[in-house]
Amino acid sequence: MLSRIADSLFWLHRYMERADGMLRLLKTSYILSFDKVQTNSITWEPALKIFTSLSPQEIEVLKKNDTAALQYILTDTDNFNSLKVIVTRARENARGVQDQITKEVWEQVNHFYHLINHPALPEKLSGPDAIVVIDALIHSCDQFCGITDSTMPRGQGWNYMNLGKFTERCLLTAEFTSAFYKKIDFDFTNEQDILYWRSLLLALSGYELHLKNYSNQNHNYNVAQQVLFDRNFPRSLYYAFERAHRYLLEITATNPVEGTAKLDRAFGRLHSYVKFSDLAIIGDPGLEKYLLIIRKELNDFGKLFGQIYFSYS
């Protein structure tokens, strides 16, 4: 497979996964923004911190203006990581590999692109219809996942797509978790209201699972247990790493080139760091440092992977 094509498939899925995470967090933040009673409310701060490169001062200003925050994250093209920009990049990737993806996948990406570029969108985002727009966009992400799964042939392309998707998911979960625990100083001993955790869990689509599987106390501890180590929760670090590793092994086995052994070792080490860990062990370096190491190592891995498989430009 051409390196450029592998690169495009990998990033098509990274961007689509990022869009999905972004929209879920925004929906949560948006609903919370109605709840002005909470003085120390979470609202737009995590989303602005994670998805933009604004300075703390700029975030301080923007987080108080619902419409402005929403528009900056979703449609502002000055924000190089806005939904509009990353969906455009996703579409460009898809367009450049049209002969490698199914017509259905292409049409779905195209549809999503036209949705975010709809002329009426900015106006709708500033009114009461904003939630309708966000829902429509989330729905489009869901369709993309389903269509990809049901139409794309398995094989090399599939492996690159999914490695992109699941490394992005690892990062999203780590980022979200870190942002929410930072607010409580990464302290498991205190007890936070479930309403606080509801936001994080909704952003990761894990609220219902939490209610079903975890007791109604010790939320600070239980939520961390779920988002990091629950092997049945599709957005837990554990699950995302498990899947990403599987696709990586497929890739390195079918494309053994110089550097693949190093790549396998690097990711294997990182995977073990998640797989054979638990909250008791983390207690030692602390959750903050633990998540920081994972994020940094994932970034380094992404760089190395790109150098080995995508270095065509």
Partner: protein, 315 residues
């Protein structure tokens, strides 16, 4: 007849590693009867295979590439060469324009080399041509007068023009280096319908001291029926004899550029050129030039720091 020892080093340095560099070199002596290459040794960073061929104008060219990352590329040429021309040129002073027109007739290369490129300052050029007053003069006289005019009206100043300066820019500054003098002269000759070509090479010092010594040099050749290509150097206002060594000829600098190349990677490059020319007996003249280069493509892209999540983007 003289023998010269020439040492020519072209050195590119990059502030970050670059890769996939592909280069074309035009630093082989021009193959003709009046100069004989006794020895040439080429040393290039990484010892790549150089593929050589002859181009449209009869120049020997070489192509090579460096695939792996590198921060420096040096092309070193050591040349021992004998020039066979007589110290006094034997150009005819009795050939006139109608004879030239007849010779150009259906000769493709002469036609191409007699075709002027559009300049904006047409009136300035015609003023110069009026001063030369080509009507009724023999061709050799026209060529000599054109050379003299440029030598008199243009000042030799280094560093105020670049390798990409146009004839219009040179006309405005009325100054430049050998390449600029040559370009103006080419244009004037062609506007008078005299075929003329650009020559790149080296100038070898004589007792009087000449401009362009110990560097790569450029001059002009004009076509005289019955004689052929006559070399003339507007920078020094002399006919070319046995102290000029030719590397390449062409329509202009672009087709004779000694080294040109491309590479990949967001790096800034700097170029220095060292040339020394000596008589076989040991007297040597040398010079080191740093050359201002245009930035290549997207060299300005800063290294992207990816320690934030939002900063993680497809490169």
């Amino acid at each position: 007849m003289s023998i010269f020892r020439i040492h020519h080093i072209t050195k590119y340095e990059y502030d970050r590693p670059v890769k996939e560099s592909v280069n074309n070199i035009t630093i082989y002596p021009y193959q003709s009867a009046d100069q004989e290459t006794l020895q040439q040794e080429l040393v290039i960073t990484g010892n790549p295979d150089v593929f050589t061929y002859t181009d449209y104008w009869g120049n020997k060219e070489g192509t090579f590439n460096l695939l792996t990352p590198h921060r420096e590329m040096v092309i070193e040429s050591k040349l021992l060469i004998r020039t066979l021309a007589l110290p006094d040129i034997q150009v005819p002073w009795d050939v006139f324009m109608p004879e030239l027109d007849a010779v150009i007739g259906s000769d493709l290369q002469l036609l191409e080399l007699a075709r002027a490129s559009p300049v904006k300052a047409v009136s300035v050029m015609y003023d110069y041509i009026n001063q030369i007053a080509p009507a009724n003069k023999n061709i050799t006289q026209i060529i000599a007068d054109t050379c003299d005019l440029i030598y008199t009206h243009f000042t030799y100043i280094k560093g105020i023009t670049t390798i990409e300066s146009t004839v219009d820019e040179i006309l405005e500054k009325k100054a430049g280096v050998c390449q600029d003098f040559a370009h103006v002269m080419l244009e004037l000759l062609r506007m008078m319908n005299i075929p003329a070509r650009y020559v790149s090479g080296y100038i070898c010092p004589n007792k009087n001291g000449m401009r362009g010594e110990g560097a790569t040099h450029a001059w002009v050749e004009a076509y005289i029926p019955g004689y052929g290509w006559a070399g003339i150097d507007p920078t020094n206002n002399v006919w070319v004899t046995n102290t000029h060594v030719r590397l390449a000829v062409g329509r202009n600098f672009t087709s004779c550029s000694p080294v040109k190349g491309t590479f990949k990677g967001p790096a800034r490059q700097s170029l220095s050129v060292y040339v020394s020319v000596g008589y076989e007996d040991g007297e040597t003249f040398e010079e080191l030039n740093s050359v201002q280069l245009q930035k290549q493509g997207e060299n300005e892209v800063p290294e992207i720091i990816i320690d934030t999540f939002a900063g993680q983007q497809q490169q």
